[in-house]
């Protein structure tokens, strides 16, 4: 049996080329995707969408680096035929520079991700919650299969449509009468489970005016399976200016 000798450095140069081309294509696609992002309609949604898009740039880069290496080596180092009996000369069991680089990068990227977007995003979300002196409190009651909203300080009770002012932080107080549900307005970029026998809070600061009719991302949608009516457990939402909110309150309170 003759052993096949390969110039591995030359092969590596080819891989670098694949990486460059792959990164250019991949990141262009992501740039396009991020440009077409659905509505980001709250301060919180900005934070969670930034986390998501950041991780996308990174995921595409890692996909190209690792996936590119797999595809490239499978093609570059393939046997000539099914009956090829040539044994490759490279029989190294390990190669420290590769292993060490890999380790350093894996640990480094992990630490980095935990800090950003992980902890940074969390701290930002928590900070909004802590800094809000006078949130608009809205009691949310979930039950199979509808949502009801009350505004205790405004004297608005049991409405089935969620009307909120733009730019003010809202403290949603979440309770359920029966099973678990999940309070989610896709445009607001955060969700919270509503758990029996517990009271949960979700803080949201809407920034985009609009309503379910103008953009379906602005809707309350139950996001935890709760039985037959789960898909239709939605509620219309309207984000209005502070002035309009006042008039709405005036005409809906007792």
């Amino acid at each position: 049996m003759n052993a096949a000798k390969e110039n591995l450095w030359k092969a590596f140069r080819g891989l670098v080329l694949v990486w460059i081309v792959g990164l250019a294509i991949g990141e262009t696609l992501i740039a396009w995707g991020v440009n077409n992002w659905p509505l980001v309609g709250s301060v919180q949604a900005r934070i969670t969408a930034d986390a998501t898009t950041y991780l996308m740039w990174q995921a595409v880069a890692l996909y190209v680096l690792v996936g590119g290496a797999i595809v490239y080596s499978a093609i570059r180092f393939r046997a000539s035929s099914a009956s090829d009996a040539v044994i490759p000369e490279n029989q190294k069991r390990t190669w420290a520079p590769f292993v060490v680089t890999w380790l350093v990068l894996a640990i480094g990227i992990n630490l980095a991700n935990t800090i950003y977007p992980g902890m940074v995003g969390l701290e930002q979300l928590w900070a909004i919650q802590m800094d809000t002196k006078n949130p608009l409190v809205i009691d949310v009651t979930a039950q199979q299969w509808k949502w009801t909203f009350s505004y205790p300080k405004q004297g608005v009770t049991d409405v089935s449509q969620l009307v909120v002012p733009e730019g003010r932080t809202i403290d949603f107080v979440l309770r359920t009468k029966d099973v678990m549900h999940d309070f989610w307005v896709p445009a607001w970029g955060v969700k919270k489970d509503v758990i029996p026998n517990e009271v949960r809070h979700l803080f949201v600061t809407p920034t985009a005016l609009g309503s379910t009719a103008t953009n379906p991302m602005i809707r309350v949608q139950c996001s935890m399976i709760c039985g037959n009516g789960h898909p239709l457990m939605r509620a219309p939402v309207k984000v209005v200016t502070a002035a309009k909110f006042k008039t709405w309150v005036a005409s809906n309170s007792f």
Partner: protein, 627 residues
């Protein structure tokens, strides 16, 4: 008969019995079915009569299930093959011929073959459920001519539970692992062969009950069974809990065997450093089951107790549903590694033989497998970041992200093995490469779910549905089919059809990605999961997904036909068709009843992945004095 006795038993012909198949050999199957169904209906009916209730109510169904399960097991041959002896009776002889495939017995190879059959059947029906889901989602409205929302909920619950516990949990561990573990370790059987035999017979009644759950009212919780919805959306939850617990029991019985066999029964000279990587992968998976299953078992039974016995662990004004989540995910997060680690290990088992290179950085790969299994125990909370207090978020985010480090070692090892080798790409290797590419997407998108800020938006959307299908369907099922192709000559002595194998691999890869990649986008665009009805702005993308899904689903008929046809008519394979240095290929194919005759033992004298030109064989056969 004790295991070592059986191993030492001198069979004149190691081939086992030579009688050809006769219909009467199916007798244990018929008897098991009869005893099972009779037991079920009798017990359920008596319970119902005593309680003045009806047999579809939760408590009668529970009692019926337990009695039916015992009846089925006894009928399968457990009675005369094992239990009768405990009562002073005689033990039935060990069947060594073709009849062992149809009854309870201690032979790990026929058990493994039965696993393959069971997995294929379960995959087929759970796959039909997936198709039913995609029909419903062809249009945004409630598609009432097809099924109601209630039936839709039951369908994805059954689909999910069956795909996980009746398919993913045992495709590689069961069908491939139980066959290969003894051969790769150089022994004749596993350490507790009867427990392993028993494990298979637990599967059919459990899966049958789950599929039949709509007949007693179904369950609408999806595969999570979260209380208190579990207790108020149909008696079928009883079959969900009991079916899941039974399937898990089977997994645990297998896990004990894998761990025990690897620890106690290796061939001479097989130090831990020389244990084949696939066995390491199975071992890592087995430890997960052994350590983490109890918490989840308990949770499932407490959930059931709330349903049938009126307890209020998780329900009622003082119940704590969050406690169920903790218990549920304690095993069911790491359970995904029970699926994935054996698949990783298959890649690393196949690639060196295909590329004619040693396994690169083998110790790192083992650290990766074991590392994932250890870290995996600490992550469950990432499945409900939206339910827990902020205090629990940072730690579980950090741990979850950390698991990507040991996972990365698998890729490090695989790429290092490919690099500078000479890769022969047959259908199995092609599927392995595709599985690696798919898992890469599954793994990278998992980082988004681990990152709490991103997850607060993505959780419970189609993003997650895409993510876990990439890991399970895209990696585990691709690898399963690869493993069936690769070791097919070992089991049948024949080869699969390479052309149709590769053709289907491409079909699978293309339509898999067409089906599941758009789901990431649907999730970002605000489509939540588990909905029969969605908003019209999501119609186009769902239409595309559904049509791709039908093509993807139909494609599975190709490997089915390929395997069945090749089993009967395939090209005869040489003893070691891939030129592998694995010990399993040093034995006769198809594997005789006793894999290697009495008086001989393999001894390991070198690494089993040394492909250098002129390197010596890693095993020698030595004669062992009979005990």
């Amino acid at each position: 008969m004790a295991t070592n006795e059986m191993q030492a038993q001198a069979l004149n012909e190691t081939e086992g019995g030579k009688t050809s198949f006769a219909i009467s050999m199916l007798f244990p199957l018929f008897r098991a079915t009869l005893w099972g169904l009779t037991g079920y209906f009798a017990a359920a009916w008596i319970t119902a009569a005593l309680l003045g209730s009806v047999i579809v109510n939760p408590l009668p169904a529970t009692v019926g299930y337990i009695v039916g399960l015992v009846g089925w097991l006894m009928g399968s041959g457990l009675w005369e093959g094992w239990i009768r002896r405990a009562f002073g009776g005689a033990e039935a002889p060990s069947y060594t011929g073709v009849e062992r495939y149809f009854r309870f017995g201690p032979d790990s190879k026929s058990t493994a073959v039965r696993y393959v059959v069971f997995n294929v059947v379960a995959f087929f029906f759970a796959g039909l459920a997936a198709m039913a889901i995609r029909v419903e989602l062809l249009t945004p409205d409630s598609t009432s001519w097809w099924m109601s929302e209630i039936h839709y909920n039951m369908t994805f619950g059954i689909h999910g539970l069956m795909m996980l516990l009746a398919v993913a949990a045992s495709v590689i561990v069961g069908g491939v692992g139980y066959y290969l573990v003894p051969l790769m370790l150089g022994v004749r059987n596993v350490v507790f062969p009867k427990l392993l035999g028993l494990s298979w017979w637990l599967l059919p009644p459990a899966a049958f009950a789950v599929f039949m759950s709509p007949t007693i009212g179904g369950f609408q919780t999806g595969w999570w069974g979260y209380p208190p919805l579990a207790q108020n959306s149909g008696s079928g939850i009883v079959f969900y809990v009991l079916g899941a617990a039974t399937l898990l029991t089977a997994s645990v019985l297998g896990a004990i065997n894998i761990a025990g066999t690897m620890v106690y029964m290796r061939a001479k000279g097989m130090s831990l450093g020389r244990v084949p990587i696939f066995v390491w992968g199975l071992f890592a998976a087995a430890t997960i089951l052994i350590v983490e299953a109890p918490a989840t078992f308990t949770g499932a039974l407490m959930d059931l107790s709330d349903m049938i016995l009126g307890s209020h662990f998780y329900t009622g004004p003082l119940g704590h549903p969050l406690a169920y989540m903790d218990q549920f995910w304690f095993l069911f997060h790491p359970e995904v590694y029970v699926f994935a680690l054996p698949a990783f290990a298959i890649w690393l088992e196949i690639l060196p033989a295909a590329a004619k290179r040693p396994l690169f950085a083998r110790n790192w790969a083992i650290a990766g497998l074991v590392g994932v299994s250890m870290l995996g125990a600490m992550l469950g909370v990432h499945h409900y970041f939206t339910a827990v207090s902020p205090a629990r978020m940072p730690i579980f985010m950090t741990f979850t992200e950390t698991v990507s480090i040991p996972t990365g070692f698998i890729y490090l090892s695989a790429i290092g093995t490919l690099w500078g080798g000479r890769l022969k790409i047959n259908a199995a290797v092609l599927l392995v490469l595709m599985a690696m590419m798919n898992f890469l997407i599954g793994g990278l998108t998992g980082i988004f779910n681990a990152d709490v800020p991103a997850d607060l938006q993505l959780h419970n959307t189609y993003w997650v549905v895409a993510h876990f299908h990439y890991t399970i369907l895209g990696a585990v099922i691709f690898t399963w089919i690869a493993a069936l192709y690769w070791w097919f000559p070992k089991v049948t002595g024949r080869k699969i059809n390479e052309f149709w194998g590769k053709f289907h691999a491409w079909w699978f890869f293309v339509f898999f990605n067409c089906t599941f990649f758009p789901m990431f986008i649907a999730g970002i665009d605000g489509m939540n999961r588990r909905v029969a009805i969605y908003l019209p702005y999501l119609h186009e993308i769902n239409l595309f997904i559904s049509i791709s899904a039908f093509l993807l689903g139909a494609g599975f008929l190709i490997p089915l036909a390929n395997l069945v046809y090749s089993w009967r008519r395939g090209e005869k394979a040489e003893p070691n068709p891939w030129g592998s240095r694995g010990l399993e290929w040093q034995m006769k194919s198809p594997t005789p009843y006793i894999p290697f005759p009495e008086g001989t033992e393999p001894e390991v004298v070198g690494p089993n992945d040394n492909y250098a030109a002129g390197s010596k064989e890693p095993f020698v056969w030595i004669s062992a004095p009979s005990k």
